[in-house]
Structure formats: structure tokens, C-alpha cells
């Protein structure tokens, strides 16, 4: 299984939703790292370690945005095993699940 280390492969300073919001935004992370795994019908581990934090704007757009892009919550949860070894980042595991469950698919 591939591992996506957000801090190393994307940025340790995530924030913002859209490309115009900043250099480490949720849309870019979703399109570069998450969508290709779903399209290839593979599975991946997503490692949160090493980032300064995960603001709501980034997390919701990255993971909730997958639902709006047409993937189901079940597909997303089966595809990605989201983990951290840093206790201070554990709260974001819960938030990610909330954003996946709370996002509404586009009609």
C-alpha cells in the first residue's frame, strides 16, 4: 500500500481551500494526491505527521471535496487509511471523518 506523507510530499503548512487561497491548499492536495489513488482503484495510507496543524479550510476541501467530486463516503474510507503517530494531531483524524460524512454530493 502506498503512503502519502502530507508534510513531506505536499507541505508541512497546509491551509486554505482553493489554489488562489495559498500555496498548500486543500484543492491541490486532493487533486494531486487523493484523486489519483481513487481513480486507479488503489488503496493508500495517509500520514498526518510532521505538519503544524490541519485547518478546517484545508481538511474539509481535501476530504469533503472528494464527496463533492462524486466519490462516496464508503469509497473514500475504504481507500484511505488515515493515521498519525503524533498525539497532538489525533483530533484531526476525527475531523476528517466528520468532513467526509458531512459533505454533500453535488446534484
Amino acid at each position: 500500500m502506498n503512503t502519502i506523507e502530507i508534510a513531506k510530499e505536499f507541505s508541512p503548512y497546509p491551509g486554505g481551500r482553493y489554489p488562489e487561497d495559498g500555496p498548500a491548499n486543500g484543492t491541490d492536495f486532493r487533486n494531486r494526491h487523493l484523486v489519483p489513488v481513487l481513480k486507479a482503484h488503489q488503496k493508500a495510507q495517509v500520514l498526518l505527521d510532521g505538519a503544524l496543524g490541519y485547518p478546517s479550510s484545508f481538511l474539509e476541501e481535501a476530504f469533503g471535496g472528494l464527496v463533492r467530486a462524486g466519490y462516496t463516503a464508503k469509497q473514500i474510507k475504504e481507500t484511505f487509511d488515515i493515521k498519525t503517530n503524533d498525539p497532538t494531531l489525533e483530533r484531526f483524524l476525527v475531523l476528517i471523518q466528520q468532513y467526509i460524512d458531512g459533505a454533500k454530493a453535488k446534484q
Binding site: 495559498g22 503544524l52 469533503g64
Partner: protein, 274 residues
């Protein structure tokens, strides 16, 4: 520019002042000149120096006090400014702060709060069609942090010169819930609905209890340090309103006669708070 009569200045006020000078210089392209500098209060000069006020003015750096770790003086970080949700700029605050407050440990909750406050300014603070009294530096925010050895607290402050929370709220997805929350205690259209502090307070309350999906989550990140760090407090000044929120849901508010010219968000965190 003569500050001879100013005896003391807070870090927040210095940030607002520095931001205004920054705006003035970039928009007007006019060089401001200091008057009676030798008669200014040493404390005022020191704080303005630390926050980068004189560097903004491009004036010779004649005042170079070093607070260091000893004594009771507050150490203030040179402000940073940006026009996007750039986390790397915000990380600069934390890394510099660790240098002066050795006991300070970065908490991801604080990073998220500062980033979302700055992002709120970028995203909502400067609507394109709004008629500003003074031309703003669109999407721009300013931030600093300070360390008080006497109080053993750090402060993080983010300021934007946008239209203010009560002006942007009607376009927010939280607004319906804010109106519902307020209308349970006062009729829609009453003067309370025109009070900036009431609108800020209602937005805070709704954001803490709402589990809304999608947009509108940022305010919850802004409040989160107060919820998770013992003794932390959050002060928001926006428009004419001021709200102070401490852990344990004690929210106090008031409205001032003058508009602050944007939104200032200030967290005070006891060092070692968990």
C-alpha cells in the same frame, strides 16, 4: 508623525497602527516623517521598534532596545503580512516565538486558529463591490505575537482592514443560524441586530455548537484554543464591537463608539497550558 503625547501602547494597537502605516505607504506612496522622536516615550518607541514600525517607515533604526529574557518587558515579534492563507508565513510566528519564549511549545490548534483568522480576512474581509471609506490593501492581513515573562503568557494577534464580521455575516452559511439564535431572545430587526458585538457573540456561539458541513468551520478553529487550553482567552474586535471569550463559556461584550477599521483577533495563552 508625532507620538510625543502617547504614554503607552498595547501590542494590538501597535499592530493596527503599523498596518495603517503600511496601507498608507503602499497606496499613497508617501514617505512619512517622524517628529519630536527624542521626546517619545521609551516604552512606545521600544514596542514600535520591535513590531517593525520603523522598518515600515524606512527610517534609520536609531532605537534598538533588546528585551531578551530577563526583566518584565514584553517581547514583541516583528509583524508579518500577507494576502493569502499562507501557512508558511504563519509558521514564522511560531518559530520566532519559540526563540523568545523557550517554554512555548507549538500546538496545532494554535496554528489552525491563526491561519483561519487570517484566511477569514482574505476570503470575506474585502468584498469586491464594497465601497470602502479608505482604499484597502485587498485581502491583506497582518499578524504578530508577544511574550510576557511577568504574566507567563503569549499573545497571538491577527488583524485585517476588511469590512468586519457583522458586515460579512449575512453572506455566510452561518447567518441563518445566527439569526435563529438571536431571534430567540430579541425580535428580528431590533437594535440588537445592528450591534456589532451582538453579531460577533452570536457567530461565536453558533460556530461552537454548529456541526455544519462545508464552509463556515473557520470560526470554530478560531475558538478552539480557548476550548482546549486552560486559562486561554480570545478577544475579537470587529467594527465597533468587542467580545471577550474565556474557557467556560463566559462571553462578555461591548460596543465602542469608534470602528477599529477591520477585525482584530487576539488569543492570550498561558505558557504550558494544555
Amino acid at each position: 508623525m508625532d507620538f510625543e503625547t502617547i504614554e503607552a501602547i498595547s501590542v494590538g494597537a501597535a499592530l493596527v497602527l503599523a498596518a495603517e502605516i503600511d496601507r498608507w505607504q503602499k497606496i499613497k506612496n508617501v514617505k512619512l516623517v517622524l517628529k519630536n522622536y527624542s521626546s517619545w516615550s521609551d516604552d512606545v518607541k521600544s514596542l514600535l521598534h520591535d513590531i517593525g514600525f520603523f522598518a515600515l517607515l524606512g527610517t534609520p533604526n536609531s532605537h534598538s532596545l533588546c528585551h531578551g529574557f530577563s526583566g518584565e518587558a514584553i517581547s514583541v515579534l516583528e509583524l508579518i503580512s500577507c494576502d493569502s492563507a499562507n501557512g508558511e508565513r504563519i509558521a514564522e510566528i511560531s518559530s520566532r516565538l519559540s526563540g523568545i519564549a523557550s517554554a512555548f511549545e507549538q500546538d496545532p490548534v494554535m496554528y489552525c486558529a491563526v491561519l483561519e483568522a487570517a484566511y477569514n480576512g482574505v476570503l470575506h474581509g474585502y468584498p469586491e463591490k464594497f465601497s470602502f471609506q479608505y482604499p484597502p490593501l485587498h485581502k491583506t492581513w497582518w499578524a504578530t505575537a508577544s511574550w510576557s515573562p511577568k504574566e507567563q503568557t503569549v499573545k497571538f494577534i491577527v488583524y485585517d482592514q476588511g469590512v468586519g464580521i457583522s458586515e460579512t455575516l449575512p453572506r455566510s452559511k452561518l447567518y441563518e443560524k445566527v439569526v435563529a439564535s438571536l431571534s430567540s431572545v430579541t425580535p428580528v430587526g431590533s437594535t440588537l441586530f445592528k450591534s456589532d458585538s451582538t453579531m460577533i457573540e452570536a457567530a461565536l456561539k453558533v460556530s461552537r455548537t454548529s456541526r455544519s458541513d462545508g464552509h463556515g468551520q473557520g470560526l470554530r478553529d478560531i475558538v478552539a484554543p480557548v476550548e482546549s487550553m486552560a486559562g486561554a482567552k480570545l478577544r475579537i474586535l470587529s467594527g465597533c464591537g468587542e467580545v471577550l471569550y474565556r474557557q467556560g463559556e463566559q462571553i462578555s461584550k461591548r460596543d465602542r463608539s469608534n470602528h477599529i477599521g477591520g477585525t482584530l483577533v487576539e488569543w492570550t495563552i498561558p505558557v504550558g497550558a494544555t
